[in-house]
């Protein structure tokens, strides 16, 4: 069918661009501080109540044995993640072979790539859409601190300016074995999680 070029759509292209620009500038101004890492679990004492501990253990076992990964693949580390999914370094044995496109069905975000200020609002939106409990693994030097591109004008110096990070995996890019070690550390963290904590 013929498109009438003179017809105004609900949002014109230039308006969409300027709204996007304002969102990015606002996020950049608000994200100059690092969000502190959620690492209180390292100092916590083990629970004493046997009934709640067993139920906790079963729930944690279920959660850590099949974390589903949500999509966040900007750059080069994505290829080491794909190699980890490949036949040689199989992460399907950890229950993770499914890559959910919808963030509502995922509980782990492995950030594989450099984050730029233009992309940051989209990553924050995907993170907000994930359901609790959710975890983040920062993979690679660019995700930890900006990496080799730190002094550039468009690069966020680390994902922890935008979202809280649980495990940091260094490397440029980290080998698939290093990534699997990072996932195992995350599984230890999930095993110690208290789900039915008593109040008072």
């Amino acid at each position: 069918m013929e498109i009438d070029r003179a017809r105004e759509y609900i949002y014109a292209d230039t308006e969409l661009d300027s709204v996007e620009g304002q969102v990015i500038e606002e996020l950049k101004a608000n994200s100059q501080e690092i969000i502190p890492d959620p690492d209180q679990w390292l100092e916590e004492e083990p629970e004493q109540n046997i009934l709640l501990t067993t139920v906790d253990w079963v729930i944690n076992w279920g959660r850590r044995s099949s974390p589903w990964v949500s999509l966040c693949f900007p750059a080069c580390c994505a290829f080491e993640f794909i190699a980890a999914m490949g036949p040689r370094f199989d992460i399907s044995r950890f229950g993770m072979e499914i890559l959910r496109a919808s963030p509502r069905q995922a509980d782990l975000m492995i950030t594989a790539g450099t984050l730029t200020w233009k992309m940051a609002p989209n990553i924050k939106r995907v993170y907000n859409q994930m359901a609790e409990p959710k975890w983040v693994i920062a993979m690679g030097a660019c995700a930890i601190s900006g990496g080799i591109f730190r002094s550039s004008y468009n690069v966020v110096p680390g994902y922890n300016h935008i979202i809280p990070v649980d495990v940091y995996v260094p490397g440029c890019p980290p080998r698939p074995e290093a990534l699997i070690y990072g996932i195992q550390m995350l599984q230890e963290k999930i095993a110690k999680r208290k789900n039915l904590a008593q109040k008072g």
């Binding site: 230039t14 661009d17 996007e20 200020w117 233009k118 004008y153």
Partner: protein, 146 residues
């Protein structure tokens, strides 16, 4: 082997068509005036003797007094290539004629030069920023951007 045409010979052949448009020409490059850039490049594209039907690359370089825009043209028929340059002086309100109507591949590259260097191209169908967002202040690839 792709033969790199000498700027001097091409200038000698263009002299009759475009008098006083060629500023300088030596073994490597052909430097032309801003206003006649579009006509010279469309002449180079359509004449069967040159037949430059493939645009390799457009670049801009910031020398402090002027900006230089460099075009690398190649002909697949005759297997020869040429480098054409043009200059614009000053730091504000720079403008060069656009060749997006001749080569479709120039579209995205001219938007990139506008975004990163601040040179705008007259006659471009969609002159807006391509890599950076709409409210970004300044042009990053200039030498005085820190």
């Amino acid at each position: 082997m792709t033969v790199a045409l000498s700027g001097k010979e091409v200038a000698a052949k263009l002299e009759q068509q475009f008098p006083s448009s060629i500023i300088e020409s030596n073994k490597d490059i052909l430097l032309v005036k801003n206003e006649s850039l579009f006509d010279i490049i469309s002449f180079l594209k359509t004449t069967p003797e040159f037949d430059f039907n493939y645009l390799s690359c457009i670049t801009a370089v910031d020398y402090f007094d002027y900006f230089e825009v460099v075009y690398h043209l190649t002909s697949m028929e005759h297997n020869h290539s040429l480098v054409v340059k043009t200059r614009c002086y000053g730091r504000e309100n720079l403008s060069v004629p656009s060749i997006a109507s001749l080569y479709e591949g120039a579209n995205a590259q001219e938007r990139e030069i506008y975004d990163l260097m601040g040179i705008s191209f007259e006659g471009h169908p969609n002159m807006k920023r391509i890599f950076l967002w709409d409210g970004f202040q300044g042009h990053p690839l200039r030498k005085d951007y820190l």
